[in-house]
């Protein structure tokens, strides 16, 4: 099956700064593709190019059969976007915003009324539907933004950090709604910097950093692909010097040691049950007291760290 979105050397530069750097990525019809990366990775810029809000500096993208640089009007008929920052005017009410959105997307009157009511009720906005969004919290505004694509049910739904500022219960509800949207036939492109969200919601995850695509695959395959299938997290009583880390790396079956904090290490290794005693022995020998030790499965953060040498949190701070 032909991909429904195809990015070909998609590039966006703002002056000397390259926000998106020769991105080549395909999205299959009916999948949820998560774009994971820290702030500034180029996720939102990519989405804005796909929705034809901004033009690529170089390369292009195809939305279905339409080239976004040559047929932007046609490309937009297939796409709906829920923005990262809710795009609402203070004088608007959810009722007006959603009804206008449904109308401009070409929904007939009866269907419009049904879907707007359904979305407002599902997102617990029905009682506040006539209130100005000026009085809304960040989470409520975000729900209005999400409601737009739930009502539109576009062929390609683009959602940028859909659950930012939303409480835990609300997050699960929105994830289920996005899954339902996918099951009804939409392809979903999800940009997020939340590891868990990308992991549980995406069929495939594309990891971006500094405008470049690092890797794209199913979450499980990505996690399995990193050398050192087990992760041991160790918190020390005092900071570990670089020399100590290098010696630690010398222990057989340890693939990598990442100092998340000077006293907090993530050790990637194979056959943890055999290596763990050697690790504890090592710290005893070095006379460094271990405060805590924990074994875990690799996460998408570990995948990100494998490709960049940084955790997402560190990359975010950079």
């Amino acid at each position: 099956m032909a991909p429904i979105i195809r990015m070909v050397n998609l590039t966006k530069k703002f002056g000397d700064f390259t926000a998106v750097d020769h991105l080549n990525l395909e999205v299959e019809e009916g999948e949820i593709l998560g774009i994971l990366g820290p702030n500034g990775a180029g996720k939102t810029t990519t989405l804005l190019m796909l929705t034809t809000v901004i033009r690529p500096t170089e390369g292009t993208a195809y939305i279905g059969p339409y080239d976004v640089t040559k047929e932007p009007d046609k490309a937009r008929t297939l796409v709906g976007m829920a923005f990262q920052e809710p795009k609402l005017l203070w004088v608007d009410s959810p009722w007006d915003i959603l009804n206008w959105h449904a109308k401009v997307c070409g929904l007939p009157l009866d269907e419009r009324a049904k879907r707007v009511r359904w979305a407002l009720e599902e997102l617990e906005l029905w009682n506040d539907r006539y209130k100005s969004v000026h009085a809304f919290s960040g989470g409520m505004r975000k729900r209005v933004e999400i409601a737009k694509i739930l009502i539109q049910r576009p062929k390609i739904a683009i959602v940028d950090e859909p659950t930012a500022q939303i409480d835990v219960v609300g997050k699960y509800r929105i994830w289920n709604m996005l899954r339902d949207l996918r099951d009804e036939g939409s392809t979903i492109l999800l940009a997020t910097n939340e590891l868990y969200e990308a992991d549980v919601l995406s069929d495939r995850v594309a990891i971006m950093h500094k405008g470049k695509l690092l890797v794209c695959d199913e979450p499980k395959k990505l996690k399995d692909s990193i050398p050192g299938g087990d992760v041991v997290e160790i918190t020390l009583e005092k900071d570990a010097p670089e020399k100590m880390l290098n010696e630690l790396r010398e222990i057989p079956r340890i693939v990598n040691v990442l100092a998340v904090k000077p006293n907090y290490l993530k050790i990637y290794l194979n056959q943890a049950e055999e290596v763990l005693p050697k690790i504890t022995e090592f710290f005893v020998k070095m006379r460094v007291q271990v405060r805590s030790i924990r074994m875990s499965e690799p996460s998408l953060d570990d995948v990100f760290a494998h490709y960049t040498g940084l955790t997402i949190e560190e990359a975010q701070r950079e």
Binding site: R76, K87, L89, H101, C105
Partner: protein
């Protein structure tokens, strides 16, 4: 190919949006009434009969017609401020992402910006025409059509300037 339906949907949004600025609408209406009922009559008393004759019989008529044009201009220009407000809240990005062509969007906003002003000032316009004593239907029709084209043009001009000038303060100074 421009879709009239989509142009109207865009225009309709601007018309509805305008009705939400209740404070602005009330203040403008008060301004109009005070201009006509107070300043118009006062200024009219300040001119001699020969001057009044030179401007069509009554300086009040001249003044009232001018007030209507000023009202139309100032309310139509407001679409430019909407653009700034939308830019601040990122609504422009949203409008650029909906399935409406750029031409439909610009045309819709120009029509909406002009029409909302025309509809708002309409009753005042009729009042002024009544006060002036204009009764020829053809002249009325031509006057209304010209005034609508005026608002449509000013709305388009205001949108163009708002998009070109990044500072709302500069826009404010330029548009008076």
């Amino acid at each position: 190919m421009i879709s009239i339906r989509k142009v109207w949907i865009v225009a309709e949004r601007d018309i509805k949006m305008f009705l939400r600025y209740k404070f602005l609408l009330i203040m403008r209406a008060i301004w109009f009434i005070s201009q006509i009922a107070l300043f118009g009559l006062v200024v009219n008393q300040m001119f001699r009969g020969d001057v009044q004759a030179a401007v069509g019989g009554s300086y009040f008529n001249y003044y009232a017609a001018g007030i209507i044009i000023t009202m139309l201009y100032s309310t139509t220009v407001f679409i430019g401020y909407d653009i700034y407000e939308e830019a601040d809240h990122g609504v422009i990005e949203y409008l650029l992402s909906v399935p409406v062509s750029r031409k439909e969007l610009v045309l819709g906003r120009s029509v909406g910006g002009g029409l909302r002003s025309f509809l708002y000032v309409g009753p005042m316009m009729l009042l002024v025409l009544y006060l002036i004593g204009a009764s020829n239907p053809l002249q009325l029709l031509v006057a209304l059509l010209s005034l609508f084209l005026f608002t449509f043009g000013v709305a388009g001009f205001s949108i163009t300037l708002a998009v070109s000038i990044k500072s709302s303060d500069q826009f404010d100074i330029l548009m008076g």
